[in-house]
């Protein structure tokens, strides 16, 4: 199916309005009491035109007495009188108008082109729709909240400015069978979004696309194919608590709970923490928190208020090989580090600080692991199993290490510290 197509530049010369029921006199020009009243008809009625195109219109006057003159008539467009040189009298009862290089319509209900009598009274009106056909929507992205629904967002082509009301319709279908379905809940997360609340299948791909339509044509986006399980997100981790770590002036402990909505499906989850100083806009991100629900921030400034947020990525649901979609950040939680007379360290991360300032976190950790191996390894075969055992040991014994910290020099405080429980 073509990605987009343009309809004809439609200067849709509509037929004049049909005769109205006698009960409802709606067409302008109904005889007015006390006057030799005239009526008029503008042609074309409610045309649709491309930006930059031209319009030839006429205002034909009928009335009593017959042969009402076109002399003295004039045009306004959106309330502004049009220059006389744009008009000419075609015959005794018809005034013509020529507009060139039309701009896009000022309002979606149409530009108001009005034919006036000499005294300024309104004889007839017609609404112009000047714009562009829609361009192909693109950049469709979708996510599922806890595998129960699907929300999609897209970008309208040409930044959406067509000057005409353009209708966007999100369509979806199961890839290998089923009929086209149309999303019905629009504007849920912005002007170009739609929410599918139910009846979605798992373990099977969907095809999703967006169709844009206006008076001048239509366009269709590329098709996005996805499995719901590959685009799962969740609520932010609840119950985020940030607290001091005893009297340690450069550390804070962060704890949270895994999102309850996914507790039956969540085999693994990745978390990210970000934190910033109270008066700063710069966040620091800790993104190797893995599957834990706690972390200790180290290398912080003493006596400083920090704001902390956590978010979750529920990857690997039901064996999906794709990363999920990060949740929103949790509400900021604040805590302050204890004050200290000593100059505090600079910024840090959720990792033990090594004695070598230039060492990365992994290297520092590995160095500690090798030191531990010398004491505890019974064979020379190094393995990640042993490494995991060491990490588990670190988690269990961090409380004991806190007490031992007192005997360590302050510059090396935190060296042996691993992830907090």
């Amino acid at each position: 199916m073509p990605a987009g197509r343009r309809g004809p530049a439609a200067q849709s010369a509509r037929r004049p309005p049909p005769l109205l029921p006698l009960l409802l006199l709606c067409v302008l020009g109904a005889p007015r009491a006390g006057s030799g009243a005239h009526t008029a008809v503008i042609s074309p009625q409610d045309p649709t035109l491309l930006i930059g195109s031209s319009l030839q219109a006429t205002c034909s006057v009928h009335g009593d007495p017959p042969g009402a003159t076109a002399e003295g008539l004039y045009w306004t467009l959106n309330g502004r009188r049009l220059p006389p040189e744009l008009s000419r009298v075609l015959n005794t009862s018809t005034l013509a108008l020529a507009l060139a290089n039309l701009n896009g319509s000022r309002q979606q209900s149409g530009d108001n082109l009005v034919c006036h009598a000499r005294d300024g009274s309104i004889l007839a009106g017609s609404c112009l729709y000047v714009g562009l056909p829609p361009e192909k929507p693109f950049n469709i992205s979708c996510w599922s909240k806890n595998m129960k629904d699907l929300t999609c967002r897209w970008t309208p082509g040409a930044h959406g400015e067509t000057f005409l009301h353009t209708n966007y319709s999100l369509k979806y279908k199961l890839r290998w069978y089923g009929q086209d379905n149309t999303c019905e809940e629009y504007h849920t997360v912005g002007p170009h979004s739609c929410h599918i609340p139910k009846d979605l299948a798992l373990f099977t791909p969907y095809e999703i696309w967006v169709e844009a339509t206006n008076r001048l044509g239509s366009a269709r986006s590329d098709v996005l194919t996805l499995d719901i399980l590959d685009v799962v997100t969740t609520d932010p981790p609840p119950d985020v608590h940030v607290s001091r770590v005893g009297g340690l002036e450069d550390q804070l402990s962060v704890r949270w709970v895994s999102p309850p909505a996914l507790k039956d499906f969540l085999f693994q989850a990745k978390y990210q923490i970000r934190y910033r100083v109270e008066d700063s806009v710069d966040w620091k991100v800790v993104d190797d928190v893995s599957n834990q629900t706690s972390c200790r921030l180290a290398g912080l400034k003493p006596g400083t208020v920090y704001f902390v947020q956590v978010r979750c990525n529920p990857f690997g649901i039901y064996g999906s090989k794709k990363a999920g979609i990060w949740s929103e950040w949790s509400h900021p939680t604040a805590a302050s580090t204890p004050r200290s007379e000593r100059p505090g360290p600079g910024g840090g991360a959720c990792e033990p600080r090594g004695g070598e300032p230039s060492s990365g976190p992994v290297r520092r950790e590995l160095k500690q692991f090798l030191g531990w191996l010398k004491k505890h390894a019974y064979c020379s075969n190094l393995s990640f199993r042993l490494y995991d055992q060491w990490r588990a040991w670190m988690q269990k014994s961090h409380k004991t290490r806190n007490q031992d910290e007192g005997i360590l020099p302050s510059s090396r405080r935190g060296t042996a510290r691993g992830p907090a429980r």
Binding site: R14, P17, C26, L28, S109, S121
Partner: protein, 204 residues
């Protein structure tokens, strides 16, 4: 003056007519409702003209005041009628307005689909007109002055309004909508004034 409580036979002659307290409370309540809805009608009109684009809303804009099926503006002689007759006319107008407002809303849903507030106001206006009309009729019944004769059939006006609105060009439809919103405001204001005549001592 009738000794029957709540009589409207000479409501203006003696402000000390003793109405039942609950009836007086009902009159005040209905009057307050009319006052509130008049304000809403002003807001509806302002929003309506803004969304139709210029010249709607410009100071000099004066489209023909076309007659609308089943509903006309309050006549100049309205103020000189007995109050119960005025309220009957108010109730009849309020009953005729909802289908017209619905027709305007349907057309505006096509012309201004991204104007949810206008559409909501039009929907609310239809509902509020029905509510106020019913309240006025209830008052008339309580006062023994309810309409006993046949009234104009709103469904016929609705059918005419719907078909004509759908058939007409866009500009006439905009003008028609303006007319309906204007009539809505006029009749609400008229109803508020007429109810105020019933209040002991004048409007609250």
């Amino acid at each position: 003056m009738s000794r029957r409580e709540g009589s409207l036979e000479a409501p203006q002659a003696d402000s000390s007519v003793s109405l039942l307290p609950h009836l007086e409370a009902k009159i005040r309540q209905t009057h307050s409702l009319a006052h509130l809805l008049t304000k809403y009608a002003e807001q509806l009109l302002q929003e309506y003209v803004q969304l139709q684009g210029d010249p709607f809303g410009l100071p000099g804009f004066s489209p023909p005041r076309l007659p609308v099926a089943g509903l006309s503006a309050p006549a100049p002689s309205h103020a000189g009628l007995p109050v119960h007759e005025r309220l009957r006319l108010d109730a009849a107008a309020l009953a005729a307005l909802p289908p017209l407002l619905d027709a305007v809303r349907r057309r505006q849903a096509e012309l201004n689909p991204r104007a949810p507030r206008l559409l909501r106001r039009l929907e609310d206006a239809a509902r509020q007109a029905r509510a106020l009309g019913a309240a006025v009729e209830a008052l008339l019944a309580a006062l023994g002055a309810a309409n006993r004769g046949p009234r104009a059939e709103p469904p016929a006006a609705a059918a005419a309004a719907t078909s004509a609105s759908a058939a007409s060009g866009v500009f006439p439809a905009k003008v028609l909508g303006l007319r309906v919103c204007g009539l809505y405001r006029e009749w609400l204001s008229r109803t508020e004034g007429d109810l105020g005549q019933l209040l002991p001592g004048g409007p609250a």
